[in-house]
Symmetry: C2
Subunit: 189 residues, 2 copies
């Protein structure tokens, strides 16, 4: 059940069998159905979630009343509101399942205990965060360096399967333009 997570961790740090057991003990599987929420605005984010199957999205309602998708969580990504999780302040995000999903969750307190028992996990999460940070940086660059159409084509080229999997209006929201515009791009060829 927690195999996909263990496999993922071992790509970054080696784990002994006892350590593996500690990790397995600290986390717990969460099944979530399409359109269900893991987090809603006003709530305090209680844990971090590893996506082992399915697609999650993190979004908020902007000042024009529209959903704005800030990130997707797909297989082998962690998804949470790190800010709310860390500070204990209420979140302003929704985290929702786009498809039925299987997650592996760890609560803030269980994570803190695990980090003490298995310090290597600090390293794992450091490397994960570093990857997430550089990916986000690159995303900012795409936002500025590419036209909306190019950004779509690049993204579609990088994740061809994913683009099919989600509704167009979500993709448009993530890429930063309107569903109408996406429809026009697609019409062009």
């Amino acid at each position: 059940m927690t195999d996909s997570l263990i496999t993922h961790i071992k790509k970054f740090v080696p784990l002994t069998d006892t350590e593996t057991a500690e990790v397995a003990k600290a986390v717990k599987p969460v099944a979530i159905k399409r359109k269900q929420f893991l987090l809603q605005p006003g709530e305090i984010c209680r844990g971090n979630y590893f996506v082992s199957k399915g697609v999650m999205r993190l979004y908020f309602i902007n000042k024009n009343g529209q959903e704005q998708i800030t990130m997707f969580g797909i297989e082998n990504w962690w998804i949470t509101d790190y800010d709310s999780l860390e500070t204990g302040k209420p979140s302003h995000y929704y985290i929702q399942a786009v498809e039925d999903a299987e997650l592996i969750g760890i609560s803030k307190t269980d994570l803190e205990e695990l980090l003490i028992k298995v310090p290597k996990m600090e390293r794992y999460f450091r490397l994960i965060m570093q990857k997430a940070f550089t990916a986000t940086m690159r995303r900012i660059e795409y936002f500025r360096d590419q036209s909306d159409e190019e950004r779509y084509r690049i993204f579609a080229g990088m994740f061809p399967g994913f683009v099919q999997r989600i509704p167009q209006y979500m993709l448009a929201s993530y890429l930063g333009f309107t569903p109408q515009f996406l429809s026009k791009i697609r019409g062009k060829k």
Copy 2:
């Protein structure tokens, strides 16, 4: 000399005197003059740099031949190309001093050794990366939710001193619009 860094680390993790000494031994101060480069495209990024004084910028030349500033490094921020540093691949960024600056540098190998000797530092860098990640996320949200003019006003409100310290064209580049447009905004009131 390395005091500002030690102070910064202690805000996130406690350090014993021996650990403090290990940190001090691993890093080395770097003075850099205005307009000098720490990194240029094609080079492999060799270290991570903590800014104890001055301002650094990280940018690249986009496909229209313009400088695009991806991040600033100000007092108490680390600046580097994490991607090049981690993978050993050539960078496509410039890292340059905007003002004369004092940095505290640590090479990749010294960092790896330090992380083994003082595992707490894994935690420190994890927390730093997490902060950097959430800041970058929020920046993406501002890019999408706010008009260019609002984004400028919010930023100027958040960092009033900083806005005075750097040339306008750099601020415009960081915020994602042209120097002309910034000039027009300022003219308005």
